[in-house]
């Protein structure tokens, strides 16, 4: 079967067709680009670097209901994720799709998380290859990713100038291609080869790198190292590195109740960089300062996660570097780990 293309003139039509689903696309919001549900194709902003906020919230919402209850009643009403409907995330970057594939392992591990997994099952990921690396702090190639990476994606789009090359990667992707059959055309025969060349070129433009080999094994040996105090000294504990991280998945569970007694148990993003995260009811805190919290954050991503799931929980998107208010740089920390 021939590879498809989507001419840029037909992107609007394609998005209109896809808006029969819950359609998520990058869009401008004040000064930043975020992923949001769009109903008008004109809202989509596809000529972007990367979004400030990763699209992870469409699999793992910032706050979501687990069940509803009535105070004093025995009955609990489970949230039905199915109601959210079929979702298409259009135009996400390969690193963010790969991040979802990494986080899938955690939510499918042992106890299956019904909310997350149902949402993932209902979601088709249409990626947009990075012809130019979106940021000077991109380092996806150090972690097994690529600006043209396909892991986690159902469809990969590549900007070929006046059209996108459309490569369906999974059954879900093929289904999406069928949905768009009247908007898609046939791509030139040598486009796939051309895209391979473009991928190599894009990889060559990634400026930052780290050799991760040996880091997961080395980190636990540096438990008492002075480096943790040094690298966390500037930290404000704002948590932005975790909230904007596409692989961070830690959450809190809280109950909310109205005056009427109606309530819901919900879960919301939480951050290992916060004091309350590990605070015991007794007042004891096993991670009392930012030193212990930073050490845990780096260890979790680069040692504990690969220890259990055989993959580092970082995709090299560079957000934690770009957006840290005090310029803490994960690559700088990792270099110190390597040198220690």
């Amino acid at each position: 079967m021939a590879v498809k293309k989507l001419s840029k003139e037909k992107v609007g039509d394609a998005l209109s067709e896809l808006s029969k689903f819950r359609l998520i696309a990058p869009a401008k919001s004040d000064e930043v680009v975020v992923f949001k549900q769009i109903s008008d194709p004109a809202e989509a902003f596809l000529d972007y670097g990367n979004s400030t906020v990763p699209p992870k919230k469409f699999a793992f919402p910032q706050t979501e209901t687990l069940f509803r209850f009535m105070r004093g009643s025995s009955e609990l009403t489970e949230k039905n994720v199915e109601e959210e409907g079929t979702t298409v995330i259009f135009g996400l970057r390969p690193c963010d799709a790969r991040a979802m594939a990494i986080v899938d392992k955690l939510f499918a591990w042992d106890y299956e998380d019904p909310y997350y997994l149902k949402r993932r099952e209902l979601t088709t990921l249409v990626g947009m290859a990075c012809v130019e690396p979106p940021s000077v702090n991109c380092f996806c190639t150090s972690l097994g990713g690529s600006p043209f990476g396909s892991e986690g994606l159902d469809v990969l789009l590549t900007d070929m100038g006046d059209y996108y090359l459309v490569q369906a990667l999974t059954d879900k992707g093929k289904k999406l291609e069928e949905t768009l059959s009247s908007q898609l055309g046939e791509a030139p025969a040598d486009d796939e080869k051309k895209a391979e060349g473009m991928a190599k070129e894009a990889e060559g433009k990634i400026r930052r790198s780290i050799n991760t080999e040996g880091i997961p094994e080395k980190l636990p040996t540096l438990w008492d190292s002075e480096l943790w105090k040094k690298v966390s000294a500037a930290c404000l504990g704002c948590g932005i590195c975790t909230f904007l991280c596409p692989t961070c998945h830690c959450f809190d569970i809280q109950d909310e109740t109205e005056e009427t007694g109606e309530g819901r148990r919900c879960r919301m993003w939480d951050s290992c960089m916060f004091r309350e995260y590990t605070l015991h009811a007794s007042g004891h805190n096993p991670r009392p300062t930012r030193k212990e919290r930073t050490r845990n954050r780096v260890n979790h991503k680069y040692s504990y996660y690969p220890n259990r799931f055989e993959v580092i929980a970082c995709v090299g998107c560079g957000r934690c570097i770009n957006l840290c208010p005090v310029n803490i740089d994960i690559l700088d920390i990792l270099n110190q780990v390597v040198d220690a």
């Binding site: 069940f67 609990l76 299956e112 909310y115 636990p220 959450f251 809190d252 009811a281 007794s282 504990y304």
Partner: protein, 279 residues
């Protein structure tokens, strides 16, 4: 598969105080409101459950009854925060919610044919209680059972009636202590690690299990080593703040292990490898 975030409602059959004070300890004996839950429920000594009230929250507690005790579960809960204070308001006939069983268990199958010594402090006796009860209910499978237990004062001793009954029936050898002298206290005065050295259980074919405040555990582990116990003969439980109880929400880890999922039961051999275990 059942949604692991949805708890079961339980009804309080009976409740009483184990210890008084600001941080009083109350035991709840409960059964599922829906009797059918018993058909699918099975737990082992050491396992935990999330216990709470919708609208207040939930927290992790060990199930302090053995599965050999049929028709009820027990929880012994110290009043410490919002959720435990709300639970302490409840009386027989009231309901709350339980999600579990969660976590791993003491490897009691592996311990068959061995002697067992439990070393508990304060509310730390709660996870040891199901071990003791399990051994009593499978008495022929195990060797000698020695209990070492202490609390700050005699009033702070949990499960007093059960200790008394044990001392009378001879199922176990009991050694009790309090931290400071009290009139008419017939047993040891001093800290649990000291009492352990006095009792000096033989490490020969013996498993030691200890639960209690972190400072007590630290010295108990040292003293067990002095007595010749090797790290693989020693077990303890850890606790940390928890939310999901199923290895997702992230916070309860010690090193690469989740206390909720990989624990709460760990051998000392395992914990020696993890610097964060005793943080």
């Amino acid at each position: 598969m059942k949604n692991p975030y949805i708890p079961y409602e339980v009804k309080i059959l009976d409740t009483w105080y184990e210890a008084p004070g600001d941080r009083c300890i109350k035991t709840f004996k409960v059964s599922f409101t829906d009797e059918k839950v018993w058909d699918t429920w099975s737990h082992l000594p050491g396992q935990c459950a999330m216990v709470g009230i919708p609208g207040v929250g939930e927290s992790m507690f060990c199930i302090s009854s053995s599965p050999t005790e049929k028709g009820y579960l027990r929880f012994s809960i110290m009043k410490a925060g919002k959720n435990t204070s709300a639970l302490h308001e409840l009386e027989a006939g009231d309901t709350f919610f339980v999600r579990g069983p969660l976590g791993n268990n003491f490897p009691l199958e592996e311990w068959k044919g061995k002697n067992v010594v439990t070393i508990g402090g304060g509310i730390g006796q709660a996870p040891l209680r199901p071990v003791i009860q399990w051994i009593r209910d499978n008495r022929a499978d195990y060797g000698e059972l020695q209990l070492v237990y202490g609390a700050r004062t005699s009033a702070d001793h949990c499960f007093k009636d059960e200790f008394e009954e044990l001392m009378e029936c001879g199922d176990a050898e009991c050694h009790l202590s309090i931290d400071v002298e009290e009139e008419e206290w017939p047993h040891f005065v001093g800290f649990v690690p000291q009492l352990l050295l006095e009792v000096a259980p033989s490490p020969d074919n013996t498993i030691a299990v200890t639960c209690g405040p972190p400072i007590m555990i630290k010295f108990v582990l040292q003293n067990l080593e002095k007595l010749g116990f090797t790290p693989d003969q020693v077990y303890t439980t850890l606790e940390n703040r928890m939310k999901c109880g199923i290895g997702k929400c992230g916070r309860c880890n010690v090193g690469h292990l989740y206390v909720c999922k990989d624990g709460p039961v760990f051998s000392y051999a395992q914990l020696k490898e993890i610097p964060e275990a005793f943080a």
